[in-house]
């Protein structure tokens, strides 16, 4: 009997000590010597996407999956599971009803997922091209070599694939436009900049299944007639850079890429470029400038990169996740891919579900699933069962969707028509203790700092929007501010040079649209209804509900709370800094907020 031990070594699990766990397995296996009844191999895999519960260990073929595994647990797993096929119950995940879950596909976080882009991640060792080949890798490239560019593009067209990098542009149209150019050389490039804070799907693919990305890029190169390509990877993504670089070298050694692609006589040279570090470098024209070695600032389009991109030559730039879908589309056919998803958005999308949900992580589900499904079924609902308030979709320049729209299907067009966007797939869930004005202020602050400053409306307009939002949050809001924010927002949407500025007003405009009364409460009543804005909130303990557990007093950083055990507690307003730590600490909802006179 053979057992395989898969130890998740994505960035999240590594940070929680998964390398130690893997080494401990290896050590124990070696120590057992040759007389062991069970042969086993240890594999380090990419990210399973459920990082908050890492390190994650999977045992095959039993398909038993353990969470939060520590080095000290390894001996027991070896004795029980590897030797006997028995589960170690305390390491199993517990579902919403508290029942232990043995298999990954029964875990409520994974059960509804439909994996295409993430299909191999967590199942193969990303540093072994053999693993990828065994999983059917590079068959699609082999097929593509037998096809004409038009046939390849036809399959991508039938699949309905739209770019996963944010804009949702039909992938085939880009490829077609570049294929039609008679101007050589042409280039392909992969956008692995992933600048959205909180998003990590592209990192996960680059780290956990690098050959998929290379295969997708190689197929794109065949379709447009390119012989050279670049993978632009965010500088902080050290493991991704290492795995991709090693994968290119391996693929070349195996004759898959390089001077003679799979013996076809075709050439494809791929190389890695480390990102410039700014959010705007993810924008396609800025990214191209950055690869060329100049300052990563956007330039006007047209000409589009498909016509004049890298070094002035026709170039296709695709996102990591977009490319990860390509091998599947060629292998199973475009029609099979198009069978999943909605009318206008085919296939699946990977979301980074974070914020106030019980289960956070990477989730791949068919396009068109509802927000409710994502947040409540997969995410398990809101932490501490507080009310759901809103979800910010699409990263910093996405939009805030309110609770009454939870049944909205998630796809490119639906999100866009409601003022939000798909973006890279960020989903930040907020509960009733999130202030929507503060949320807007937070994102505008991020975007104002990341604006490259080239064009007037974005550089100057975002600063002014930030100034107004900060005033509102600090009690200096004025009548007319909401209208001025809208006016500035519409100007930016229309007149900015690149999509950073054009989409930057989304968080402001959607929070005004769906939570206008919250802005008004700040401005007119100097009150922050969510009790977040420090200068507009004072805290009070409701003596009737206080059980005197002392949790708040212990949490208060300034010692503003007094009261004996089992006695109602009191906050000294002179010492209170309105940080809200007491409210977070109280399990009886006894801490209340109210407005405060403006400064």
């Amino acid at each position: 009997m053979t057992r395989t031990i898969l130890v998740c070594c994505g960035t999240g699990c590594l940070a929680n000590g998964s390398l130690e766990v893997a080494d401990e397995f290896r050590r124990l296996i070696e120590a057992r010597g040759a007389d062991a009844r069970v042969e086993c191999q240890v594999k380090r895999t990419g990210c399973n996407g459920f990082c908050e519960n890492g390190p994650i260990v999977k045992i095959l073929p039993d398909d038993i999956i353990y969470y939060k595994v520590r080095r000290r647990d390894v001996q027991e797993i070896m004795d029980k599971t590897v030797a006997e096929g028995q589960a170690v119950e305390r390491l199993l995940y517990r579902d919403d009803g508290g029942r232990p879950v043995l298999h990954q596909h029964e875990n409520p976080f994974y059960a509804p997922q439909h994996k295409i882009a993430l299909r191999n991640i967590g199942a193969i060792d990303p540093t072994r091209v053999e693993d990828y080949l065994e999983a059917g890798g590079y068959q699609a490239l082999r097929m593509a070599l037998e096809m004409t560019p038009a046939e390849i593009i036809e399959q991508v067209k039938r699949s309905g694939l739209r770019g996963r990098g944010g804009a949702g542009f039909p992938t085939w149209r880009k490829w077609q436009a570049a294929a039609e150019q008679e101007n050589f050389p042409k280039y392909v490039a992969c956008n692995g900049d992933e600048g959205d804070p909180g998003a990590f799907m592209d990192r996960s693919v680059l780290e956990g299944d690098p050959h998929t990305v290379l295969e997708g890029l190689a197929i794109c190169a065949l379709a447009i007639g390119a012989e050279e390509g670049f993978l632009y990877i965010r500088d902080e993504y050290g493991l991704a850079v290492r795995n991709i670089t090693a994968a290119i070298a391996d693929a070349e050694r195996h004759g898959i890429l390089g001077e003679n692609v799979l013996g076809s006589g075709r050439r494809l040279k791929l190389s890695v470029v480390r990102g410039g570090g700014a959010f705007v470098c993810g924008e396609e024209t800025a990214l191209i400038a950055s690869i060329e070695g100049s300052c990563g600032e956007p330039r006007p389009r047209p000409p589009f990169p498909a016509e004049r991109g890298l070094f002035g030559q026709p170039t296709v730039l695709n996102n990591v996740e977009t490319l990860a879908n390509i091998p599947v589309i060629l292998k199973d056919g475009g029609d099979a891919f198009a069978a999943v998803g909605t009318e206008g958005s085919k296939g699946t999308k990977v979301f980074a579900l974070v914020g106030k949900v019980k289960r956070t992580g990477l989730v791949e589900i068919p396009m068109g699933a509802t927000l409710r499904h994502l947040i409540f079924d997969i995410g398990g609902g809101i932490q501490n069962d507080r009310p759901f308030k809103a979800v910010q979709t699409g990263g910093p320049s996405g939009g805030c969707i309110p609770a009454h729209m939870l049944d909205l299907p998630v796809d490119f067009d639906t999100l866009k028509s409601h003022g939000a966007m798909m973006g890279s797939g960020g989903m930040i869930v907020m509960d009733d203790r999130s202030c929507m004005v503060e949320v807007a202020r937070y994102y505008i602050n991020f975007l104002a700092e990341e604006s490259c400053g080239k064009c007037t409306p974005c550089r100057e307009g975002l600063r002014k929007m930030l100034e107004i939002l900060t005033d509102i949050c600090e009690g200096r809001g004025q009548e007319g501010d909401i209208e001025l924010l809208e006016e500035l927002g519409h100007t930016l949407q229309d007149s900015c040079l690149c999509a950073l500025g054009k989409t930057a007003p989304n968080p402001v405009l959607t929070t005004i649209q769906y939570f206008r009364e919250e802005y008004e409460a700040h401005i007119r009543e100097h009150r922050c209804p969510a009790g977040v804005c420090v200068k507009l909130t004072s805290f009070r303990i409701d003596g009737a509900r206080c059980r005197g557990c002392t949790a708040c007093a212990r949490a208060c950083p300034t010692g503003a709370i007094s009261g004996g055990v089992k006695q109602p507690h009191v906050i000294d307003p002179a010492k209170c800094i309105s940080c809200g730590s007491c409210r977070e600490a109280c399990r009886f909802d006894a801490v209340e907020t109210e407005g405060r006179e403006a400064v």
Binding site: P457, R463, L488, S495, L497
Partner: protein, 246 residues
């Protein structure tokens, strides 16, 4: 092919920039960062216009937009007036000392924007033309530093530049006159550096800084110029006259 701009039918060629077509037809569109010899800057956004194509309306900047058959362009619609006004108002906050911007605000009915603060005193609108001009001369003495609100145009570390040749090209392309150039009888000072002025060997008129003439000579692989343009042309005639014995 033809397009219509504010209801006027204009003929043009494919790929031509909308701004050029409008100007040929005497339809005014304001610009700041557009310069004939440094096209494509597209940073100020005051040249925005509304383009309607197949019933869909988008806002775009005229200076870089290549025309397409049959589009209808509106340079002065409500939407454009409002947004252009807002952009000018923002520029006025950025460059409160610029007369040009203040005048444009008045002409184009920009809102007051008293609600928000002024960014910094000065005239620079950060269009980046000066940096392009200097780079185009392969000097590269100035660049944009920082991002966002702290962005500015400067020499490295705000020190007098080691490579600036004092040609003044940056100042001459600047739409708002933000770059200070002062000249005495025999010096020119720009970007905190003073250069000796060279005079024409024949008529004595100033012909540029020594560094500027050296730089031009090095680039062209010739001797440093000693004559002003006028005298150079005259001396050319003398040479020709001698050669043809006229």
């Amino acid at each position: 092919m033809t397009i219509t701009i504010d209801g006027k039918i204009c003929s043009c060629e494919k790929g031509e920039k909308l701004l050029a077509v409008a100007r040929r037809n005497r339809i005014p569109i304001p610009t700041l960062c557009h310069h004939e010899s440094l096209p494509g800057q597209a940073s100020c956004r005051v040249c925005i216009v509304e383009v309607v194509q197949q019933g869909r309306s988008t806002v775009t900047s005229a200076c870089v937009y290549p025309v397409e058959e049959g589009i209808q362009v509106y340079t002065n619609s409500d939407r454009i007036r409002r947004e252009r006004g807002m952009i000018l108002a923002l520029l006025h906050k950025r460059a409160p000392d610029s007369r040009l911007i203040a005048d444009m605000c008045r002409i184009y009915g920009a809102p007051e924007l008293n609600r928000v603060s002024v960014s910094l005193p000065g005239k620079c609108i950060l269009c980046g033309l000066c940096v392009r001009a200097c780079a185009e001369l392969s000097v590269g003495a100035i660049s944009t530093v920082n991002r966002g609100v702290t962005k500015e145009i400067a020499t490295p570390y705000h020190e007098p530049s080691a490579v600036c040749v004092g040609c003044g090209s940056c100042a001459s392309v600047c739409p708002t006159g933000a770059i200070e150039v002062t000249e005495t009888a025999d010096t020119r000072t720009i970007w905190d550096k003073t250069f000796p002025l060279v005079r024409c060997a024949r008529c004595g008129a100033p012909i540029g800084t020594r560094e500027e003439l050296d730089h031009a000579a090095r680039k062209a692989g010739v001797e440093r110029e000693t004559l002003c343009e006028h005298c150079r042309r005259r001396s050319m005639t003398d040479v020709l006259a001698a050669a043809y014995g006229d």
